[in-house]
């Protein structure tokens, strides 16, 4: 997730990482990680979730990596929301397929 500034709001953080900020802390699926400090601070939260935060000062951006606090890619078996475009740029949400079995096949033209 590319950040142009570090004072992002909790909605943006949730949309980019899948971690929702609640009173009890940052939560994904059944897992919640409590805060030490209020209000929400992306640097502290990234540290507690094991998310790499890489600064590229020459271009004024940061990149936030996915969580690593459990040592596994999946913290929960609940599928995250995925928002991708189809070939014509129309937004498609994985959650729109709820109620059906889904097989996602990744491929590449190289």
């Amino acid at each position: 997730m590319i950040l142009e500034r570090l004072d992002i709001d909790t909605d943006s953080f949730a949309a980019g990482t899948g971690w929702v900020i609640k009173p009890e802390g940052a939560c994904k699926g059944e897992v919640c990680v409590p805060f030490l400090r209020r209000p929400f601070d992306v640097v502290e939260t990234a540290e507690r979730l094991g998310m790499a935060l890489v600064h590229e000062p020459a271009h004024g951006v940061w990149a936030l990596g996915p969580e690593s606090l459990t040592g596994r890619t999946l913290v929960s078996a609940e599928a995250p929301e995925v928002v991708l475009s189809d070939l014509d740029g129309n937004e498609f949400r994985l959650s729109s397929l709820r109620g059906r079995k889904v097989v996602i096949v990744s491929w590449a033209p190289y």
Partner: protein, 236 residues
Amino acid sequence: MDMDGAASAREWVEAAGAEHPSLVDTQHQLDALFGVVNVPNVIWIDENGVIVRPPEPGWAAPVQYPGWLASRLDEQVRNAVAEAEAEGREPIDPRRAMTGGQDRDSYADAVRDWARHGAASRFAMTTEEVIRASRPRDPHRSEAAARFDLGRHLWERGERSAAIEQWKICHELQPENWTYKRQAWSLVGNEQLGGGVAGRFNQGPLPGREDEWPFPSSFRDDVAAMEPGEYYPKTM
């Protein structure tokens, strides 16, 4: 999963004539969200939105290449073998590393079994099994994803050298992530070859122009050093 998105995907999607949704993952979200590290990787999700198989190599049927690509791959194999023999090394067929250790024909049957039997299918995992089977992710691998994203951001802004520097770090941090490697190699290789129908498949230095290749490795070199099952681990 290509940064060029619809532009590179369209002809393949249309040729396949699929009835299911075909999406473009220009940012490689599937890597960060699910742990996809190669293509094809397949993820199973049930009706309740619960993952029952995390990403793994999987095929619908034996792979069929279009004629022009099959010819090019054969040529690459011949070149790799000839080069090895000239250097007194044992020739390694790069296809051996990529196709060894898998039972590609049975994957579709497993999917069908799950379609029919749901949670009772022997191929459906419990949530604990899914989490345990998902790819390892330590802080290095989180950083690899961040560096890939940074490289993508820079490349899209025309900052070629800066992007490549980020990708070199990314590849070192997560060497088993083939989509991070092949995406970067493909973008650079395509530009070095000048595009064309085979451009994206050029993922290494051009003969005689090795000093122009900015990465410490290439697809051919990495595959040549692999054992069967290393590129596509057997999970089923």
